[in-house]
């Protein structure tokens, strides 16, 4: 993603306020050109402090920050700030200046000639899809979302390479917010800017960032790509920040079904009698049996309903065998399977190897385990808390179709011939 020289480097930076109030500590961070860095954390975790030390709105108590390889401490703060775009938490458009004057404020400070400023303003306002006439308006004549757009382009007006944004979209409705997020992301990619963006919204961070920096209590807890954060949250705090829902999704994204399937599903061969089948069901407390041939190839299934209906007429499992069964290969991503199970109301999905041999089964109970692990931690030994999930009584060691569904309410809709 970058050349060798990072645009911004924090070296063991700390900010301690008067009275020994430690705002941030041991901040080590490297930001490369073109990175979109999201600082995320709870309120008071030090995000704003970390950001405002970049343009010397705050001075670090110790440590150093390098901007383009140079210690910012040696540069003139005013000059530094004119070369770093800054969108503050509440936009901060000047109410007494027109949109044009607002956008070209920094170019004017840099003494750009009039025509160049006018040109830049018109180019930028087009970029955020606002009419040119808006240049002559005052901020109060624009909606909140429009003001935010102006706030964003104002930070780009002097061709700054590095843009700092402190929760710029905090006060906006979800739709406006989303369109602005897209706008910023596009601008950043198109113009190749480096952005440092403070947020406390994980969705926003996941959507925008190429690098997420998770902060808590003035420390950096984790600093990694969004994928990495989702896959390997550094600790429970990060997990909570991500939220269980997203973690499950993220897990489903990388887990294959054989990792969570139950091995030794309850199965029976076609030659067995119905009497044997019903006894097996009763013993294992399941309502469906998978049917395999003697070599273990999946042939279909029988369930208690068809067994009951045909008991008088049929004698062997093969007589009532239902060959329309949906199954998945063992290397299928769990994500796809989860979708089917949860959305289509499947009770289970058999898992087969490439040759079609039955390997195991993914049941709703197995999904419960996964959700449980995600929420309560990987080391959860299952034990005593399992019964929290009342709809799945004691499914822990059932190696077969979930016992909780004793009535076959719906058959898989997405059948494949076995």
């Amino acid at each position: 993603m970058t050349e060798d020289n990072p645009i911004l480097v924090y070296k063991d930076v700390a900010k301690i306020y008067k009275g020994g109030n430690v705002a941030v500590e041991h901040i080590n961070l490297t930001i490369h050109k073109g990175d979109f860095v999201c600082l995320i954390g709870t309120s008071g975790s030090g995000k704003t402090t970390t950001m405002r030390m970049i343009n010397r709105m705050l001075e670090p108590t110790s440590g150093e920050i390098l901007f383009n390889g140079e210690d910012i401490h040696t540069s003139d703060p005013v000059t530094l700030r004119r070369h770093i775009g800054y969108v503050i938490q509440n936009i901060g458009l000047m109410p007494h200046m027109t949109i044009y004057e607002n956008i070209t404020l920094v170019p004017k400070l840099l003494k750009w000639p009039d025509d160049k400023r006018r040109e830049k303003a018109e180019e930028l306002i087009k970029l955020v899809e606002l009419p040119k006439e808006f240049l002559d308006r005052y901020p109060s004549e624009l909606s909140g979302g429009q003001q935010q757009r102006v706030g964003v382009i104002r930070a780009l007006a002097a061709n700054q390479d590095l843009i700092l944004m402190d929760e710029p979209f905090g006060a906006l409705d979800p739709i406006t917010r989303e369109s602005l997020q897209e706008l910023v992301k596009n601008l950043q990619e198109k113009l190749g800017k480096t952005v440092v963006f403070v947020t406390h919204d994980m969705d926003e961070a996941l959507k925008l960032a190429t690098k997420i920096v998770v902060m808590d209590g003035g420390h950096i807890i984790q600093d990694a790509s969004p994928e990495e954060i989702l896959r390997h949250p550094a600790n429970q705090f990060v997990e909570e920040l991500i939220g269980a829902e997203r973690l499950i999704q993220a897990r489903a994204d990388v887990t294959t079904v054989d990792q969570i399937m139950l091995k030794n599903p309850v199965s029976i061969t076609p030659g067995r009698s119905l009497g044997e089948a019903i006894r097996l069901m009763r013993k294992r407390r399941v309502d469906t049996l998978l049917v395999t041939d003697d070599e273990g190839y999946l042939k279909g299934f029988i369930d208690v309903e068809s067994l009951d209906n045909n008991y008088s007429r049929a004698t062997s499992v093969s007589d009532i065998l239902n060959t329309k069964i949906f199954y998945v290969a063992s290397d299928t991503l769990l994500r796809d399977t989860v979708d089917r199970i949860l959305k289509r109301g499947l009770k289970y999905v058999p898992v087969v190897d490439k040759a079609g041999k039955l390997l195991g089964i993914v049941t709703r109970a197995a999904l419960v385990d996964m959700v449980y692990d995600t929420i309560w931690g990987d080391n959860g030994d299952g034990g005593d808390d399992d019964n929290d999930d009342t709809s799945q009584p004691a499914t822990d060691d059932v190696t077969g179709v979930a016992a909780g569904h004793n009535l076959a309410t719906d058959t898989p809709t997405d059948h494949k011939e076995a």
């Binding site: 901060g92 000047m94 005052y138």
Partner: protein
């Protein structure tokens, strides 16, 4: 009325002019001193408290006493009058400038600084324009005070419409008293009106109500 104007017309014009002249100089001096001082004080909040209470104390000195106090230092005439009125004009302008500057949204100051404005640029391009309505209110208040009190300046030989009023009092001539008072009032109203116009022009468009 006609008789009065015939008798005192030219005197009235001269005295009104004197009144205006003394007041204007005092007010201008007040603005020149109090506005920058108020601005500087916002950078030193602790000193600001002290300075503003001193100015408040000066304000409580009775006007005649203040005028009398000027005599040992500046003698009699226009100079001591201007100095005394100048001192009176300070407080309203100083206080309003200070409050107006303090009340500028910190977000805007932060924004100005964050974009790379120098301290001076932030003051002249952001804070003063935003504080302008409050500062102007202070100036208008001072103007009315100063014009009214300039009447007393005739006691120490500064001239002005006070001359008419006081001779009216001494000679028991009510028409002189009224003839001197009405122009003072009119003058005060007129100046206030003109300053109001000026305020409008100086106030950023979005702040106008």
């Amino acid at each position: 009325m006609i008789d009065f104007l015939n008798a005192h017309g030219s005197e009235l014009v001269t005295k009104t002019w004197e009144q205006l002249y003394i007041s204007a100089i005092a007010l201008l001096l007040g603005i020149v001193v109090a506005v920058p001082l108020g601005i500087i004080l916002t950078r030193f909040p602790k000193t600001a408290k002290v300075v503003i209470s001193i100015a408040s104390m000066l304000q409580t000195v009775p006007s005649l006493a203040l005028l009398a106090l000027m005599i040992p230092i500046f003698g009699i005439g226009k100079l001591p009058a201007v100095v005394a009125l100048f001192i009176y004009s300070l407080l309203p302008i100083l206080r309003n400038t200070y409050i107006g500057m303090e009340d500028v949204d910190p977000v805007l100051k932060d924004s100005a600084k964050g974009m790379g404005m120098t301290n001076l640029q932030s003051i002249t391009q952001v804070e003063v324009p935003m504080a302008m309505p409050v500062i102007m209110a202070g100036i208008r208040l001072s103007a009315v005070y100063v014009i009214a009190w300039a009447t007393l300046a005739s006691y120490i030989g500064a001239g002005g419409l006070g001359d008419l009023i006081f001779s009216g009092l001494n000679l028991f001539q009510p028409d002189l008293i009224i003839g001197g008072t009405i122009p003072v009032t009119l003058l005060a109203l007129l100046v206030d009106y003109l300053l109001g116009k000026l305020e409008k022009r100086l106030t950023p468009i979005n702040q106008r109500s």
